[in-house]
């Protein structure tokens, strides 16, 4: 089954078509990453490495 499945692949077209698809998807994901944030979800976690020695658990400052 797998041999038939993969034998139909056109090796030159596959990388080009999938690359175009991938770039499009990647740009969309990046756009979403940078332009639509839920700051409350990420900012407290992003600062976790900087909290060492302050003696507080992040759980305490959860909204």
């Amino acid at each position: 089954m797998y041999r038939q499945f993969f034998s139909g692949l056109e090796s030159a077209a596959l990388p080009l078509a999938a690359m175009a698809f991938f770039v499009l998807a990647f740009v969309l994901v990046l756009a979403r990453t940078f332009f639509w944030k839920r700051k409350s979800d990420y900012d407290p976690i992003a600062s976790l490495p900087l909290d060492e020695g302050e003696g507080r658990s992040r759980n305490e400052v959860q909204p």
Binding site: S7, L9, S11, R38, D41, R56
Partner: protein, 778 residues
């Protein structure tokens, strides 16, 4: 609410850091030694300290001892602080540390002794493999137990990379190490030929990914913000970086096997995913570098940041070069050449090494509670390391491109311009000397670091850090959701749906492909709108739920990793290889040939010689007919190699008389003036264990090689009979050698290569004779 006093276990951090520095020095020293051996063959000391036995020691020492111990130091330090809890078990931490060091010592002893599986970066034999699995499980239990006991519910992104490392390395190691033992120090891979090659490079590539990359990325995400004193540039980008990287990396292994006998579809998938990997890799690199936005002046002042910034930049360079080399037309030039060696060292010396140095300079002053002894010495180390890497990289680029071009060069009449392999070797020798200088400079910087850190440690005192934390145990809405809610999360299903549509995309023609692309966009848009509405309603996001659940997170990571592995490995393993295009399959090796093959493995011949002729015109002219999958069905393990410091050997059988092989093995310069191959004169005096021949056939039969009972019973006799022909051939030319000497077995194996039925002769006697006269072999 409760207040908790935590004393972190920094003892294990110190132990791993010291072990990394110690073994790093050893690994680099061996690296300089083997680089010297390539430039000056006289530096080989047979049999234990020849290039072919020391090269695996170098790679294992750098990967598993230097980077491995550094990684564990970083993981133990950051995990405890990110989770606000001491490691769950001091005992398991100690077992992990001492167990890992015992494995390294075992590797350092066995590899020079020639005890090897010949699978690159997985050379250690089965008892050590079992020990690795056990110690890794100990580490995993300790890590996940600590996760369960944590006082901080959020799992910072560094911990994700550690989780991915732990689960994936376990899968890779176990699958690639599957073997049947022959003796306490010898085993045969259960896979053979194409399957073995694919499994090995699925492992080999992902050892780079999940041992040398993901844990170091975790270290980057923790220690770079700490050193820069600001949070990571985009936490959200780190999430995209993580999931895309762990999903895509696992597919890219076949780019090590382009133009080989591996099925075309697997090669194309490997190339495709390698190209795609460039995007998430650079996303991670930019996320690291942009963390320093507004603080670039600190890089000028702080050696730690210098190392981190340069290390991350080298990560970017290596992850650009990797996809470039995965393009088939580039691979046709670069594969088997020194360009690949340069690429590997961009990652190892640049990314891993510089990140390790930055970590040590940051970490040791803190866990010894004293300032770094000398910032100026650290700065000097930085520049020495940087110049060393540049010299190494440039020399290998020049050497690799030259090799590739000279191997392919043809004259006006269509014949090879450089038919003698040694010509290409002599042309690149100056670059080999530059490499020695670059590596020595890098090692000298390392020694300077040891002095600097030693003075720092002497001035300080070891003590475990103690902190008081207030823990809020009040359950959050995110904690009350069931596992069903996690699995029903929309992002998960949109991802699965998107992946299925993308998979379908490659099997349809133009019009349906456009419709599918539109469908993907519609699905993405719906997902976006639904998520936006949920956010507006104040519901916890799926990310908010999943990042607090280590079990669900681990399972999803494992699934993301396994998809690629299963999709590539399963079809290849299920397809029966023994369906040759030519109508003839490989014939099983005789007992004597098997004995010779094991010697070929023991001496590490695969380190410099491939046994895989690619379907390229220049390779056909130089070596003969392209290798085919069915010619390797009884090769447990495969011996395709990955580098040609010497010529390919797949069609070596019958090309030269036995006397040529004898002379070549005793002193390669006799037959190939200018060769840098180590000499193996001891093969003529060492004896094989004849009785082991039958056991080898028996074990091979259990692996599927069709030996009859009579063949196994007559193994001792058949070895003597086959050896007699080689001995007589040598005696006719005045060379006396015992029939059961290792030399005879090795010659029997070499004379067998590529001579299975169904392989058409591709070289005339005239050409072969000319090759001998010109010193065509190495």
């Amino acid at each position: 609410m409760r207040q908790v006093r935590i004393e972190y276990d920094d003892q294990v951090v110190r132990q791993f850091a010291f072990a990394s520095i110690l073994f790093g020095a050893v690994g680099l020293l061996v690296g300089v030694l083997i680089a010297t051996q390539l430039a000056w063959w006289q530096a080989n000391v047979a049999p234990y300290f020849s290039f072919s036995r020391l090269r695996p020691l170098h790679t294992n020492a750098v990967i598993f001892a230097f980077v491995g111990n550094m990684m564990f130091a970083g993981i133990y330090y950051s995990t405890q602080r990110l989770l606000r809890v001491r490691m769950a078990s001091d005992l398991l931490s100690r077992i992990h540390f001492w167990g890992w060091q015992a494995i390294i010592v075992a590797a350092a002893v066995t590899l020079p002794l020639g005890i090897t599986t010949s699978k690159e970066y997985a050379e250690l034999e089965w008892p050590i493999d079992i020990a690795i699995a056990v110690v890794w499980v100990v580490f995993a239990i300790n890590f996940f137990w600590t996760l369960a006991k944590r006082n901080e519910k959020h799992l910072y992104v560094a911990l994700w990379f550690y989780i991915a490392t732990i689960v994936t390395v376990a899968v890779l190691h176990i699958v690639n190490s599957l073997a049947l033992p022959l003796t306490p120090w010898k085993s045969y891979s259960i896979f053979s030929g194409v399957q073995d090659a694919l499994v090995q490079w699925w492992y080999g590539h992902n050892a780079v990914a999940f041992f040398l990359t993901t844990p170091i990325l975790g270290i980057m995400y923790y220690f770079l913000p700490k050193a820069a004193e600001r949070p990571v540039y985009s936490y959200r980008l780190s999430i995209v970086h993580f999931w895309s990287l762990v999903f895509m990396y696992i597919w890219a292994g076949p780019h090590h096997l382009l133009y080989t006998a591996l099925p075309e579809w697997a090669q194309s998938l490997g190339m495709l995913f390698s190209l795609m990997l460039w995007a998430p890799s650079w996303g991670g690199m930019l996320n690291g570098l942009l963390t320093l936005r507004g603080a670039w002046q600190k890089v000028r002042e702080e050696p730690v940041l210098k190392f981190f910034v340069a290390g991350v930049t080298f990560y970017g360079m290596a992850t650009f070069e990797g996809p470039l080399l995965s393009i088939k037309s580039v691979s046709a030039l670069a594969h088997y050449s020194d360009w690949i060696i340069g690429h590997v060292h961009t990652g190892a010396l640049g990314w891993n090494g510089l990140m390790a140095f930055g970590l040590f300079y940051w970490l040791l002053p803190r866990i010894y509670r004293t300032p770094l002894h000398s910032k100026r010495a650290a700065d000097a180390h930085f520049w020495m390391a940087l110049l060393g890497i540049v010299a190494y990289m440039l020399s290998m680029w020049v050497s690799g491109v030259n090799q590739g071009l000279m191997w392919k060069a043809t004259g006006a009449d269509g014949t090879l311009t450089y038919p003698s392999f040694v010509e290409t070797l002599l042309a690149i020798r100056p670059m080999y000397i530059v490499r020695v200088l670059g590596g020595t400079l890098y090692l000298a910087g390392f020694v300077l670091m040891i002095w600097n850190l030693w003075k720092t440690v002497r001035a300080g005192s070891p003590a475990n850090a103690v902190v008081e934390v207030v823990v809020d145990d009040t359950p959050k809405p995110e904690d009350r959701v069931s596992i069903g809610t996690v699995l029903a999360g929309r992002p998960l299903w949109f991802t699965v749906l998107g992946f299925l549509l993308a998979t379908l995309f490659v099997f349809v023609s133009a019009v349906p492909a456009v419709l599918l692309a539109v469908a993907v966009l519609v699905v993405s848009e719906i997902g976006y709108l639904v998520a936006k509405r949920a956010a507006a309603a104040g519901k916890p996001s799926w990310f908010g739920i999943i990042e607090r659940r280590p079990l669900a997170f681990t399972v999803l990571t494992l699934v993301a990793v396994l998809v690629g592995g299963v999709a590539e490995l399963l079809p290849t393993i299920l397809v029966k290889q023994a369906v040759p295009h030519s109508g003839e399959a490989q014939q099983p090796y005789t007992a004597l040939e098997l004995q010779g093959r094991d010697l070929y493995v023991r001496e590490g011949c695969y380190v410099c010689h491939s046994q895989m002729i690619r379907p390229l015109l220049a390779e056909y002219q130089r070596y003969g007919e392209a290798s085919r999958a069915e010619e390797f069905i009884y090769d447990h393990p495969f011996q395709w190699g990955s580098k040609r410091t010497g010529p390919d050997l797949h069609r070596q059988g019958g090309r030269y008389p036995s006397l040529w092989h004898y002379a070549h093995l005793v002193d390669p310069r006799q037959t190939s003036p200018g060769s840098n191959m180590p000499a193996y004169p001891f093969l003529a005096t060492h004896r094989i264990d004849v009785a082991l021949g039958a056991r080898k056939l028996e074990l091979m039969r259990r692996l599927g090689v069709p030996y009859a009972d009579e063949e196994i019973a007559a193994a001792a006799t058949s070895q003597r009979e086959q050896a007699a022909t080689v001995v007589a051939d040598l005696a006719a030319n005045g060379v006396e050698v015992a029939w059961d000497s290792e030399m005879v077995a090795m010659i029997a194996y070499l004379q067998r290569l590529g001579r299975d039925r169904g392989v058409a002769p591709t070289r005339t006697e005239a050409v072969a004779t000319e090759g001998v006269a010109a010193g065509g072999g190495r």
